[in-house]
């Protein structure tokens, strides 16, 4: 078990965004987190990465309780995420965005950076190489010097994934990576995520694109109004009465999301 989410509850003022949600993810899985808008999926990501602390409950990562640990430390331990509404470093080049992702995998401090010690120069070289390799993986290598905000929308999404991968995560959190993508782009995304999985990285993905989710995920948890509605394999979820009901009438919206 790579990640264990235990009885997570999160209240914002009077609103209960998550109510006693639990699930666990096995190593090497692609695990889907789905549900209608407002179900609490992104909030769950925020709990895992500790952007906000849960009101109650625990997050256990590789056997260690990481609830409430500073976000940067969580990344150091091996969890990295992308954002629903793309948070790239917009005025930085594509290459540098990915190199920043590699921050936790490098060490150079102020003095070694200023005096360009042998170790620092080697480290910089490695960072550049790793970044280029990841850009190649997501198909953005030819754009490495482009300023991030000048990339096309789909390219920006892929860049975010490359940046997250640079942190050498054991668990990758993807927040609606297929949003706004056409069919061809979604197919590329499928291939990319499968490649990520083949590298031994566990993936937790929030998505609204149901065909993609069903094709991609090994297991799925469904949230609705902050509560866990169902959990199982894609087949089980597709045939689950409660899930169907929750989506009925909302299905039209989701397909076009």
């Amino acid at each position: 078990m790579v990640l264990e989410v235990k009885n997570i509850t999160k209240n914002f003022g009077g609103i209960s965004a998550l109510k006693n949600v639990s699930f666990s993810i096995n190593k090497g899985e692609i695990f889907g987190l789905i549900g209608p808008n407002g179900a609490g999926k992104t909030t769950m990501f925020n709990m895992i990465t500790n952007i906000f602390e849960p009101t109650s409950g625990e997050i256990i990562f590789k056997g260690e309780n990481i609830t409430g640990i500073k976000p940067y430390k969580i990344t150091e331990k091996g969890i990295c995420r992308t954002y629903q509404n793309i948070r790239l470093f917009s005025q930085m080049s594509t290459l540098h965005n990915v190199m920043v992702g590699g921050h936790s995998q490098s060490h150079a401090g102020v003095f070694s950076s200023v005096f360009r010690t042998r170790a620092q120069r080697k480290e910089e070289q490695l960072l550049i190489e790793k970044a280029e390799e990841l850009l190649d993986l997501v198909g953005l290598l030819e754009h490495k010097d482009t300023i991030a905000e000048n990339l096309a929308y789909g390219q920006q999404r892929r860049l975010e994934i490359a940046r997250a991968l640079a942190s050498n995560p054991s668990l990758l959190l993807l927040d609606e990576p297929a949003a706004g993508m056409n069919e061809k782009e979604t197919d590329s995304l499928y291939d990319l995520i499968k490649t990520v999985q083949s590298r031994g990285i566990t993936v937790l993905i929030i998505e609204h694109d149901m065909p993609l989710v069903m094709k991609l995920c090994d297991r799925i948890t469904v949230l609705n109004f902050g509560e866990k509605l169902a959990e199982g394999t894609p087949e089980e979820i597709q045939n689950n009465e409660a899930v169907i009901e929750a989506y009925l009438g909302k299905e039209e919206e989701e397909v076009n999301a």
Partner: protein
């Protein structure tokens, strides 16, 4: 005959260049560049600090008092001044992290004013608003030192006071070049990328594994160090300081150097300090209405070109060489 003519012309030109007035302006430009950089560095990690005047004052008074009362050499005083300012920077910087944007600007403004009020009121130490006079002058100390080694300015054909001002100018020039080298090197590295990413989106930076607390304090403290250094040098160049030298107006003036010159790139701070220090000297009316013009500049700038005169795009046009791992 030609040789004698050339020598005379050469001497005259040398005299022109080594005109003490030009050297003095050059020295002020260099001190102002240091101050502008002290605003730029924290700004590059998203922290607008209006406390540069306060840190400058701390550096100045520390060094002045140490050299006046304890007869310490100027070099020691200056280093001590910069260090005390940076220690204060750390002390202030850590709690200041919780603040961002406008709140930080105001808190640092408040800090600067508290420091000034302390200078004015702690008159047993600082002689209050009267200020400190007779601070050991850097140029003269260098002259005495050189003389002690048997050197006389007349040996290279210049007068004593030309030598004094020239040596001040050269010391400042070397320091500014060193500081620029340091900051540029830092920027084109992992540290610089971390600072930039904090500036652009600190939440995202943190989720990429960057300890934003650490980096923000580092950049804030560096700013305090440079301001303190500039202040100590200021004290030993002018020889006289008072609390009024480190008031709110100074903080605003320094802010304008960076904001006007260009807040995205370090060249902007250099340009801003250079241009705005030179202009009042060159244009009389600018000097008289200096602050009114500053005010108008700020308003226009924010409305038309908030990033300042020199920005990354302008630099690209001039095709500045970009380091491999660099950001700017």
């Amino acid at each position: 005959m030609v040789r004698r003519y050339l020598k005379k012309e050469g001497d005259r030109l040398l005299g022109e260049i080594l005109n003490t007035y030009y050297l003095q302006i050059g020295s002020f430009i260099l001190i102002n560049i240091m101050l502008a950089i002290s605003v730029y560095v924290p700004l590059s990690s998203g922290q607008l600090s209006l406390g540069s005047a306060g840190f400058m004052g701390v550096g100045a008074y520390t060094s002045a008092l140490l050299t006046l009362h304890f007869d310490l050499p100027i070099v020691v005083g200056i280093i001590a001044g910069a260090l005390v300012a940076s220690i204060l920077g750390v002390i202030v910087g850590i709690p200041a992290l919780r603040l961002s944007g406008v709140y930080l600007a105001i808190a640092t403004l408040g800090l600067g004013e508290v420091i000034r009020v302390i200078f004015v009121n702690w008159d047993s130490l600082t002689k209050g608003s009267v200020g400190l006079t007779g601070i050991p002058q850097l140029g003269r100390e260098i002259l005495e030192f050189a003389r002690g080694l048997g050197f006389e300015p007349s040996m290279i054909g210049i007068k004593n006071n030309q030598f004094v001002f020239l040596s001040i100018f050269l010391v400042l020039l070397i320091l500014v070049i060193a500081i620029l080298w340091f900051v540029v090197r830092q920027q084109n590295s992992r540290v610089g990328r971390a600072l930039s990413s904090i500036n652009m989106d600190d939440r995202a930076a943190e989720s990429m594994g960057i300890n934003i607390t650490y980096y923000k304090v580092v950049s804030f403290t560096q700013g305090a160090f440079f301001a303190g250094l500039a202040g100590a040098l200021f004290a030993h160049v002018i020889g006289f300081i008072s609390p009024a030298d480190f008031a709110y107006h100074r903080a605003v003036e320094v802010l304008i150097f960076t904001v006007f010159g260009g807040s995205e790139v370090i060249v902007g701070s250099v340009f801003g300090a250079f241009f705005l220090t030179l202009m009042p000297e060159v244009l009389r009316f600018v000097s008289e209405f200096r602050y009114i013009i500053y005010g108008i500049i700020l308003v226009l700038l924010m409305a038309i070109r908030p990033q300042g005169i020199i920005d990354t795009n302008l630099l690209k046009i001039f095709k500045f060489k970009r380091s491999k791992g660099g950001v700017r």
